[in-house]
Amino acid sequence: MRWIAFTKRTAKEIILDPLTIAFGIGMPVAVLLLLSAINSGIPAGHGPDNFKIDQLTPGINVFAMSFLTLMGGLLLSKDRGSSLLQRLFTTPLTAVDYIIGYVLPLLPIALLQSVVCYAFALILGLEFTVNILWAILLSLLPALLFTALGLLLGTILNEKQVGGICGALITNLTAWTSGAWFSVDLVGGAFKTVCQILPFYHAVEMLKAVLHGDFQGVFAEGHLWIVLAYTVVICVLSVILFTSKMREK
């Protein structure tokens, strides 16, 4: 159970960083409140559907998860830069122990993000149904995707690069291509094709479907399968790259 010791340490590092919690949980709540306030000022029937709370919440939930990539990536790249990993590479810890140690502590954060996101949505008028619980549960899949992406980027990039790529590129890519802020159909064309190739749009759509009790809709356009495929590929790639970095060291 060597991974437990490493996982505990990673969890402490995450919890002790207030910026992580502020960005990971505070910012999505602020965005949710802001967009809901904008929506409430638009006369009924004139505003975009995306700003309705039942449409907005899954999108904001997925957007919030993009910060998991930043948290995981920063933690790993910081460890690589500090030579702590060099020390740990000479211990009996295996690649699997490291992967668990970096991924596992971020999943409760993801769960907390979803719970807080839906709790605020309820305050803002979202109708309570058991489907909210299913949506929170299913949100763990994109959470794993974003966490693995953080591990992948943290393995190949340094701390500064991770800050730039995860903090700007991934969060923006998620925001623009997920349909969280506007319907991708409004733009259409090549943009919609790109959105459909990337996993973020599918993650939002599958969560919307579950939230509305449309369980068949999870599979429409291959939403679940596309998110699952990306998650598996990125997880495998992360493990391979991390293992090769271990050998390289």
């Binding site: 490493f6 002790l16 702590l84 060099q86 020390r87 000479t90």
Partner: protein
């Protein structure tokens, strides 16, 4: 009894040969110093011995286990305190030590006993519950060494342990290293000749990845025909350069 045996150990990076056919034997319980200027190959040698880097050719044995084939066995027996302070800065000293104890699968009772031993041996009693990032450089190095010693390794690699420390912190760290001397085999790399002279049982002088001289400090001085170690070191390194 031989604890570490290097057999034509070589490491090449593209055009650069960092370590070139190093052969050496180090006795159990020895404090062995690797001396050399920057780029001499000291850190690369340590990285190969601690299984962090795979040699291009040659091999080395630690307690009879090969660094090529028995990595996991070796990792259970060695520890390294790298050049940079390798600690989890956001955690307290106690949490860092507990983490290392967990990584070596120590039970709670054994871990607590060992942590208490290291706390006293390395003078960490007053800082056990302080976050490492708030400690001075000297304390951080001591924590780093304590973390390395948690599993009572039979071999400890200390890579430039006093680099960047002030005179007092260096002297305190020397005392800490002397306190554990003899309990295990220690390989120490250093730039500081007074450090090597003060602490090491035997020394090896490296230059451009090759071994220039090996022996006690007296033997090194005699080989160079000099009365002090610094002059002997300079002469040996310059002779090879010439």
């Amino acid at each position: 009894m031989t604890e570490i045996k290097l057999k034509s150990l070589t490491k090449r990076y593209k055009d650069l040969t960092a370590v070139d056919g190093l052969s050496l034997e180090i006795e159990k319980g020895e404090l062995f110093g690797l001396l050399g200027v920057n780029g001499a190959g000291k850190t690369t040698t340590i990285k190969m011995l601690s299984t962090l880097t795979v040699p291009t050719s040659g091999d080395a044995e630690i307690a009879g286990y090969s660094i090529l084939g028995d990595k996991q066995k070796i990792r259970e027996r060695i520890a390294i305190s790298p050049q940079e302070t390798a600690v989890a800065e956001a955690l307290t000293v106690r949490e860092n030590l507990k983490m290392m104890a967990g990584i070596y699968s120590m039970d709670k009772q054994t871990a607590e006993k060992r942590i208490a031993e290291l706390r006293d041996a390395l003078g960490l009693r007053n800082v056990m519950d302080k976050r490492v990032k708030k400690l001075s450089g000297g304390y951080k190095r001591r924590v780093s060494i304590a973390m390395a010693l948690i599993n009572s390794p039979s071999v400890l690699f200390l890579d430039e342990p006093t680099l960047g420390l002030d005179v007092i912190a260096r002297s305190e760290l020397w005392d800490a290293i002397k306190a554990i001397k003899g309990e295990l085999t220690i390989i120490l790399t250093t730039h500081y000749l007074e450090e090597a002279e003060e602490m090491c049982d035997r020394l090896a002088v490296m230059k451009d990845g090759r071994l220039v001289a090996v022996g006690t400090k007296e033997e090194i001085k005699k080989a160079a025909g000099e009365d002090d170690l610094e002059a002997a070191f300079v002469k040996l390194v310059k002779e090879v350069r010439a």
